[in-house]
Each structure stands twice: as C-alpha cells, then as structure tokens.
Symmetry: C2
Subunit: 352 residues, 2 copies
C-alpha cells in the first residue's frame, strides 16, 4: 500500500486517498491514460485499460468528486428544495415516498441527492440560486408549483435544468412530469357516480398551488358532464381545517352525500368528524381522498383514495431530469397512471 497516515489535531488518522497520480505512477503511464481508461474513453489499449481498472479496484480508488466537478463541470448530483411547513412535511408520507422513488433511480445511475427542507417560502429561492452558482448540482426537481412560480424563470436565468412535478404543461421550457388531474378526477367521479352520488363536495388544498386550482376546475367540468354538482371549499391540508370544513358541510343545509378531500390528513379528519357527529360512513356520507397513504389504509373504516404511484412518479421525475440535462428535446412526459383503492369509506349514496 502506498497509504501513508498523518496525525490530525484530534488524533484521527486520516488515511491517504488514492488518486489517479498514484495509479499512473504505479503503472508507469500518464495520468491522462489513467483517466481515459477509467472513463471508458478511446485513447488506451485494452490491455492498459484493464491494468488500470484492476489496480483501481485493488486499491479502492474512487475519483475525487470535487476534482471531477471542477474540471468536468458535472456533479452527478441533483437538488431538491422543499419549502413547506416542517410539520406538514413530516405528516405527509408523500414527500418521503417520492424521495424513495427518486433514490431508487439515483442508486442505479450512481448519482446523489442534495436535499434542503426550508420552512419558509422565499428562502427556497436563495438556496436554488446559491446551489446553482456554487455549482453544487446538475439540476433540480421542483414540487408544489405556484402561480407564476418564480423558481422557473430563476433557474432558466441561472442556466440550470429542472423538472417540475406538475399537473399541467405550459410552454415555459421547463421539464415537466405531468400528472393530469383529469385522470384522478375521472377515477373518483366514476366511482362515486356508480354508487349513485349526485351531490358532492370537494375540500381542496390551498389555491396557491397550481395543481389545486386545476383540480377544482377539472372536478367542476367532469362533474357537470355526469350531471353531478360539486361544492368547492378551500382547505389548508391541515387536520383541523379538514375537520372544521367537514363539520360545516355536514351540519349545514343539504349536506353532500360524498366528500372528496385534497389530502390524507384532511380525509382522516373528515372521517372522524362524521363519526363524532353520528353521521354514518358511508351510510350517510362517503369520504374519499385524493392521495392514498398509510393513514387512509389504516383508518377505520378504510378511506377510499387514489394511489398516485408516488414512488414511481419520483423515479420518473429523476429519470426525466437526467434526460433533460443531457439535452433531450422532449421535455414533457406523462406521469404513471394512478389507481383507485376502493375501501369501506365510500358506498351507495344516501336516499333523500
């Protein structure tokens, strides 16, 4: 071993990292040849290449990522910056499942994820700017698109690729993995229509998110197509809010026979309120959720929801980002289709 140790201030011994210079010296060839060999480029004989690879393996050589990044301007790292209330981030399995999906892909292509969870809006812009300027990442995956989302022009200005996990496809040159709300709305409405529901309510997430407004609009249109009416209430994704709005619906005049909730937490809240009010579920009111999750599965009765294939979607987003960054022309792609998970919280519409 060429490894030589040096004593560090705190007594740690930092082992010498093997570099391409070490490999070159031991093999009596130039650093360039080593580099060519390692990177599968032309310029070395097969025999030399094999000798390099063997020695690299033997010595446990791994190229210094900073040096690669500096000279080749690629980091094999993608960035994700999430600007939601930490409390919400952790209650929603959504983000973690998406991350798992992304990681599956990154594992396969040996890339990495730089993650930042910033509480406040605005702070995320700073992080995007800083990471871009610092050359820390090759691109970003964006969630929770807003109206006139400032992140998209910012990243374009910074000249760094991105993929938006999106519900629509405006022509703004951003890469997009698109989950159209039409599909989920169709699944939910077909399910409810088949059960005889005509008068439903929708408690959405905040309208600041593009996807929430699109859901509202799509729900209205497709409900009309089926001769159904839909009341729309804007929620916050929070439990308390889902509970309060559901109470308002169920204790008001003409309560709906079914309620669609914008996320799992509000759906659990709706279920609880209905039960507490003595409103049978699904006898008197059906409860369905936009997103499936363990909460929906474990509730009692189980809550009917759409499995959005969150992990697969994360995977697909990462895959798309790499292709966009490599210069692929087609920057829009359809996300994997969701599937209805019918459970006990939805049943035949109550008779009036």
């Amino acid at each position: 071993m060429t490894a030589s140790d040096g004593d560090e201030p705190n007594g740690l011994r930092r082992t010498h990292r093997v570099t391409i210079s070490d490999l070159a010296r031991r093999l009596q060839i130039s650093k360039a040849s080593v580099s060519y060999a390692l990177n599968g480029r032309a310029g070395v004989s097969d025999e030399t290449r094999q000798r390099v690879l063997d020695l690299a393996e033997e010595l446990g050589f791994h190229p210094n990522s900073a040096a690669v990044a500096l000279s080749a301007s690629r980091t094999r790292t993608i960035g994700i910056v999430i600007a939601r209330d930490p409390a919400l981030i952790s209650t929603e399995a959504f983000y973690m499942r998406t991350l798992v999906g992304i990681e599956q892909y990154l594992n396969e292509v040996d890339a990495s994820l730089l993650l930042r969870l910033t509480g406040e809006q605005g702070e995320d812009l700073d992080v995007l700017r800083r990471w871009s300027r610092q050359g820390r990442v090759d691109g970003f995956i964006l969630f929770d698109e807003h109206d006139n989302d400032p992140r998209i022009p910012l990243l374009k200005e910074l000249g760094i690729p991105c993929v938006v996990v999106s519900s629509n496809a405006p022509d703004d040159q951003a890469g997009r993995l698109i989950s159209s709300p039409t599909e989920t709305v169709t699944l939910l409405l077909d399910h409810l229509a088949a059960l005889g529901h005509r008068d439903i309510a929708h408690i959405s997430g905040p309208f600041m998110f593009v996807h929430e407004r699109l859901r509202v609009q799509t729900l209205r249109e497709l409900a009309a197509d089926r001769g159904m009416t839909v009341r729309q209430l804007e929620g916050s994704y929070r439990y308390d809010d889902g509970a309060a709005l559901t109470r308002q619906l169920l204790t008001g005049p003409n309560p709906p026979t079914a309620i669609v909730l914008g996320n799992d937490l509000m759906a659990v809240a709706a279920l609880r309120v209905a039960i507490d009010l003595g409103t049978p579920v699904p006898g008197q009111v059906s409860i369905v959720a936009w997103d499936d999750s363990p909460l929906c599965e474990l509730a009692h009765p189980g809550i009917t929801a759409v499995d959005q294939k969150t992990m697969e979607r994360g995977r697909a987003a990462a895959d798309l980002l790499f292709r966009v960054a490599a210069g692929q022309d087609d920057i829009h792609e359809q996300a994997p289709a969701g599937e209805l998970r019918a459970r006990a919280s939805s049943g035949p519409a109550a008779h009036r």
Copy 2:
C-alpha cells in the same frame, strides 16, 4: 456585467459564473486578497475587504463548491445513508421528522445534506465507502445501529467523522447522540403502574437493532423493580406482525392488561385487533407505543405514546457531528428528553 453567454447544444444559454478572478480583475487586486477578504481572514485592509464584499454581493458571487472542496478539503456537506425497506421508510414519519430537524440546523450554518436511501443492507456500506473516498462529505450521521455494526469500524478506517443516533455508549470512539431507553421505559412503566397494571407485554422491533435489545433488557429490569411482569415478543415493525402478535396475546391464556408496542404502526395494528376481537380498549387492555406519531394521534382512541422529540434529536445530532468534525473531545452527548403523551388508549388495569 461581465456575464457572457455561450450557446449550448440544447439551446440553453449557460450564464457565465462569476469567480474570484473576475472580482480580482475588476478591483485590480490579487485573487489571494479576494479570497482573504471573502473568508474573513487577516491579510487585507478593512477598506479592501469591504470593496470585495460589496462587489461580490453586487455580482451575486458564490464560490464554486468543487473548487473550495478541492483546495480546502471541506465540503460543508454531511451524508446520511439509510438502509431500510423503502416501504417502511415511508410509513414511518420518524425519518422525515429527523431529517427536518437536521435540516433546520444545516440551514442555520449553511451546510447541506447528501441523502441516500438504499433498500438493502450492505449496499449502504458501499455508499459510505464511496462517498468518503470521493470526498463528497465531511461526515456521516448513522441510524439503526446493529450489533458489531460494520459501519463504525469502516468509517474509522476511512478517517471520516460520524455521529451515531444511539441508545448506548460503548467506547468505540464514535460520536454518539444517546437516547437511553431507561428514560422512555420509566415514562411508560410509571404511567402503567399508576394505572394499576402488573402484567404487561412488549412487542418490540427486530433484535438486530441494538436499541431494541436494550429496550427489552431495560424493560425487564425496571418492571421487576416495580413488581411488574413483562412478556417480550419480537416484532418486525410491520403492521401485520403487530396484529398477529397482539392477537396471539389477547386470545391466549392470561392476556396482559397492557401492551407496549415498539413503533406506531404496530400500535395501530394492536388497537385494531383488540377492537376487532371485541376487547375493550382501554377497558380490557391498554395500548401504548414507544414512539409518538400522527398515526398514534389520529387513531381512535388516540394511542398513548412517548414523544421522542425526533426533530430536536435530529438537530442535536447534526450539531454534534459538526463539533466532532471540528475536533471536539467530548464525543458523547445526551439526546433531549422524551415526554409521555397520555391518550385514551391507556386506562386503569382490568380486574381479574
């Protein structure tokens, strides 16, 4: 602006990143002076320093992280590699809450997190080794310690600092943020003892985890101190398993009057099984969970659990890692204390 654009293959215009050379040229000073000024080092007059800082601000200068990493051998990045089944990772809010806590700290000190979720055991060792050798991170935070955990000697050999989120304090030179099980066991047993429970059961997580075996042992000892008996069953953290073991307990001879579950998912399972068996909760059996979570809070009845202050613990772990990496001698630290959240799932012990 000195910014000049170049056309990229895919039509993206990559803006020129401003470097210290740009700053030096514009200010007619050397790059060294710029570096000193930016890093708050001696070697420049206050006036020069201010001019540098002003221009850097004006041009939106951010130092290239690869260049800093290469020349200074620090990345301001910590690594986390989690090797658990993806399905489990996403159902447990634990990891996400921990990450949020860690991120809070990283935000404050402007450091970053490199994250990898590997499904399989063993693969995580490769990632630790690779990231170390590649110089990608300044240190690691480790979770889910095993017996004779190979990660700890590996990282020592690689000469890279780490902090183990730990339940004990062996003398192996690893940094440790310690949550002693004694504290949680005391909270749980005092609660149950006060309610008159004498005969309890514990469905733990897998014994491959050091903390689970420690919990079992501690529970046994402290229960004995209180004149209580405790039956121990090894679970897997999975819902199905929690359900099956609970069923076994409740339908067997001499069912316990209280069951302690090793995680939230198994606690929800236990609750469901008890209800389905017609065993009143807490009338006939009390259910308590080791870790609090939204699942416990939202269950009905709510499940008594210990709030392990997961976010604070994550924060503390990150903080400790930076101090350990900076050469602090005292590498062990106590994690923030947990708190009992008494809910409706626990009540007075049933009479025999």
